[in-house]
Symmetry: C2
Subunit: 369 residues, 2 copies
């Protein structure tokens, strides 16, 4: 592994779209007791469904701490597409802590090691000690032998960007301009940095993301590419819902903007769950918070959105919230199946995932082919 201090764009590298072919997917075993109830036990069934779906299509690299190695191995033995890597970490959000991968036209793939500060550092970060998470991207590159761009001067999580692979990056202003990221930089400087590292020509800035999303409203919970110039947008028809003005602003922005190639966007509205997904007393059982960690509270509305799906090579893994949202769940599966006729839509029970603070997309990071 080489550490590179050059700029990917100058080197001919760019970030492919998630819908383009993958070599594999990086995930992390759920262990953090402030995120995952009973030290991960409740979430494991959902994780196993994701691991199974991923390994049907591509390689899975599962990061675990040493103490969970045996347990993880027992779940994945006999699965020749699953590979376990022992790396210490602070939580399971591979999207945000694993490398962002870029490639060039010769098929070379490299990682980017951004600065990670737990979604806001001292300003509004979600946990105080994130040193292992911040080191993770570099260690993954080392173990998997990818050259790695050193971008520790720039705070970024993978969940705050989407790429169409053709020069366009989607982000939210609420996240990338937040005081907890890169407050010393102007919007123009951030745009330039994103273009330089992701090999892009244009950044499209949606104003906001999902209501009450503790990541400062990551784009990956709000809006995702299905194809170049074709996106899915989290939507609600309920004008009394606090999500309504946020989705409306994004809809209007997307209809007033073009992508890097000058194309208009086709926007598919995907309704959020009809019934707000809120934390119950029961949901808090089995959580143990560390000092300095943002605590879950009863009644808190979770940032439940079906846009936090993940593309494997041939599937779409879609969150399902269950209970009174059964109809919304079915509707999301059906709509995604219509928009992705050549993929298999795989529903994943996600209540334990959103309780952890994110969803399927947040837990996965693709390695391009």
């Amino acid at each position: 592994m080489k550490t590179l201090d050059t700029l990917p764009k100058k080197d001919g590298f760019y970030m492919p779209a998630e819908f383009s072919p993958h070599h594999g997917t990086i995930m992390i075993y759920p262990e953090r007791s402030g995120s995952w109830r009973y030290g991960g036990k409740k979430a494991i069934p959902a994780f196993r469904q994701i691991w199974d779906a991923v390994t049907e299509d591509e390689e899975l690299y599962l990061i675990v701490s040493e103490s969970k190695f045996q347990k993880a191995s027992s779940y994945l033995k006999n699965n020749r597409h699953a590979h376990i890597l022992t790396i210490p970490q602070n939580d399971a959000w591979a999207r945000d802590t694993a490398p962002t991968f870029v490639k060039d036209n010769n098929g070379n793939v490299r990682g980017i090691d951004w600065k990670f500060n737990a979604w806001g550092g001292d300003f509004d970060g979600l946990y105080a000690d994130y040193e292992e998470d911040n080191k993770l991207a570099r260690e993954v590159c080392q173990i998997l032998s990818y050259d790695c761009y050193h971008a520790e001067h720039f705070v970024l999580e993978g969940g705050s960007i989407h790429s169409d692979g053709e020069g366009t990056i989607l982000v939210t202003e609420s996240c990338l301009l937040s005081q907890g990221r890169n407050p010393q930089m102007t919007k123009e400087q951030i745009t330039e940095t994103l273009c330089n590292y992701l090999g892009a020509e244009k950044v499209v800035w949606l104003p906001r993301g999902i209501y009450n999303d503790e990541t400062n409203e990551h784009i990956d919970n709000m809006c995702a590419f299905l194809n170049p110039a074709e996106v899915v947008l989290a939507w609600t028809d309920n004008q009394n819902d606090p999500q309504y003005p946020l989705s409306l602003a994004a809809w209007e922005l997307l209809h007033s903007e073009t992508d890097a190639k000058g194309r208009n966007f086709t926007v598919h509205p995907l309704p959020i769950p009809v019934y707000p997904v809120c934390v119950t007393t029961h949901d808090l059982e089995g959580l143990e918070f560390a000092e300095g960690e943002d605590n879950r509270e009863v009644g808190e509305r979770l940032a439940a959105s079906y846009v936090n799906f993940y593309f494997t090579n041939h599937s779409v893994l879609v969150p399902q919230f269950g209970g009174e949202n059964a109809v919304s769940d079915a509707l999301a599966v059906q709509m995604l199946q219509e928009w992705c006729p050549n993929r298999k839509v795989v529903p994943i029970p996600a209540k334990e995932l959103i309780l952890g603070g994110g969803n399927i997309h947040c837990l996965t990071q693709q390695i391009p082919k």
Copy 2:
């Protein structure tokens, strides 16, 4: 023209789907002063857009009273696909008062002359004198030389039925079982009558239609076939909206039922306008109600739904409500374009139409090819 007292099904006749080829469309000029502001003047621009779209694709038969013949002719002169028929009528809802057409496998087409009682007669009808409307179907058959089934023992409006052309009829219980229609008949007898006249094998009964729809919730405002076993359903994601339980019940019924050929239904949810379309003081200007007529009131919520679209041979004419519902309007156009990729979606400004009490589908009746 022959009057027939036999049953279409026994004679080998059935009701084709609206999405199947048309010879033409019947419409009626807006004149009733309790439905159309300033005696129709405000609604004419929307009607003209419909006439233009229809005559691009098929023949238009426009029914007018003698006093409006000149006016109608001036709008349609030089349009060789437009034909004006002078027949007296009480209002402009051709869907409900013109004949329902059936055909056989030799290409013969016949009309059905149901009993019309203005959506409920003495029980909850919308106007007291509907004699001209009740005679209209028979007169149309006479002028256009279609043999006509005499079904005056059965109260039915065309807007309360949808046919897939392959043996399945969609209806709502709220309408067909209402006290103002055929209260002497059981649900089973109504099912049998529908099958006998429409040449069908199965009636699928949705419980309800659109909230506050004064037709006792006609199916044609709620759910429509795009193809056999594929329907569009009026939807809302707002669980506080009175429409929510009605749409949910229909969704569940459709997912628990099969059609006449045993196929499951694919259900496409189409959001109603986000902002309820309600009557303003301004909207009442220019209306004059007759004695015994149901009056519009300020604040009344209108049964605005995009499902009240109409298929011409190559287009879908879709209602648009304007103003604060511009985004909902655009969304409906986009979704219908996705679901009907081989048709041209034509948006029609429909605020004056819904004020009249119905929409594009209610104003049109297809004559099959």
